[in-house]
Symmetry: C2
Subunit: 211 residues, 2 copies
């Protein structure tokens, strides 16, 4: 087994432990993956505001450096934990395992994991989540699913973000949806703008039926 395969096998072993840990406590974890700047943090900000602390969501957020996102996401009664990955381009199952007991305490039902902004590395590392969600902003171009097929193949849900900007772009919706479905024919696609609020209801209903 080469080094890369060993690292992945070790990661998958821990991810399995995380999955069992979460399962036993009835916690659904979703792993949000996208390019840097696709709007993961803003989507989470609006989502936490909509859910409120009584729904007891919790958040683990990974970034190469800074705790900017954790500060943006901080809200009374909601547990948020930042992991700085430093030289690494993705969160690993071991990093998540170490913070799980602290971040996903009593009553937590929904755990958002905001991965490092990156379409390649995070796709390869299972964290123990129920499933991955890929985000794709309308400013990024329609062909990203074809260029980064590993992620878009693994994500049963794709959130198209920043749709309020569509009137100002040459974005072709049909071509984007086709690219997603080429890589994953059964993908559930949710189109929204966290800024304008358009499509947020569909996203919140989707989260609702996860739990």
């Amino acid at each position: 087994m080469d080094v890369e395969s060993k690292v992945l096998a070790r990661n998958d072993e821990i991810a399995l432990r995380n999955r069992v840990w979460l399962e036993e406590r009835g916690i659904v974890a979703i792993n949000l993956i996208s390019s840097p700047g696709s709007g993961k943090t803003m989507l989470l900000e609006k989502t936490l505001d909509a859910l409120g602390p009584e729904r007891t969501p919790a958040v683990i957020v990974g970034d190469q450096q800074t705790d900017n996102d954790a500060r943006r996401l901080a809200r009374p009664g909601i547990s948020v934990r930042q992991i700085e990955t430093l030289s690494s381009c993705h969160l690993g199952a071991g990093q998540v395992e170490r913070v799980l007991p602290e971040v996903a305490g009593d009553g937590v039902r929904l755990l958002f994991i905001e991965n490092v902004g990156n379409l390649v590395c995070p796709a390869a590392f299972d964290l123990g989540e129920r499933h991955k969600i890929a985000l794709l902003s309308v400013t990024e171009g329609e062909d990203k699913p074809l260029k980064y097929p590993v992620l878009f193949h693994d994500a049963p849900v794709v959130v198209i973000t920043k749709i309020d900007l569509v009137p100002h772009l040459d974005w072709n919706r049909e071509s984007c949806l086709r690219a997603i479905r080429t890589v994953r024919p059964d993908a559930r696609i949710i189109e929204l703008s966290a800024r304008s609020g358009e499509g947020m209801r569909t996203w919140l209903e989707y989260l609702e039926q996860l739990g």
Copy 2:
């Protein structure tokens, strides 16, 4: 020496060979790095159109999969070569070395290397270029230089792209420039829109004095 350090040391050795090879032929190579969807390919399209084949630019373009970008960049008389990195999140010096003689043939003076869309991995891998150029689109948020400081520290030039979209965003120019200068105080910052053409003249003048 751990495995990661060995891989990097091996890469740096080849990068040095590439650097010497390019130097001997009077070719300036620049390594363009950004998030997926920041507009690297469109900037190159407009740049190649402006330079024309008589200026003999050449392009190496990396993507995890597809040759979409090479097809977008194809122009008569300009040498373009796509490298599919598959499971890897960055171009490596060895991949570049293998295509250099073919892509940077007689008369080439300026070689653009469009790296895989990613702010983490490509920053660590020297390809033998004169220097890195970081691209940052105004849709990505102002704090990316602080979150991905390795790249923005290593790039003496930062191109802020898609400025035609500024009126439709909450983008704060001062805060973005400050984030860049925090990580690299002497960064040269070029603001442009490849789509509207604004700022393109400054970019082309910059390229002019490179050669």
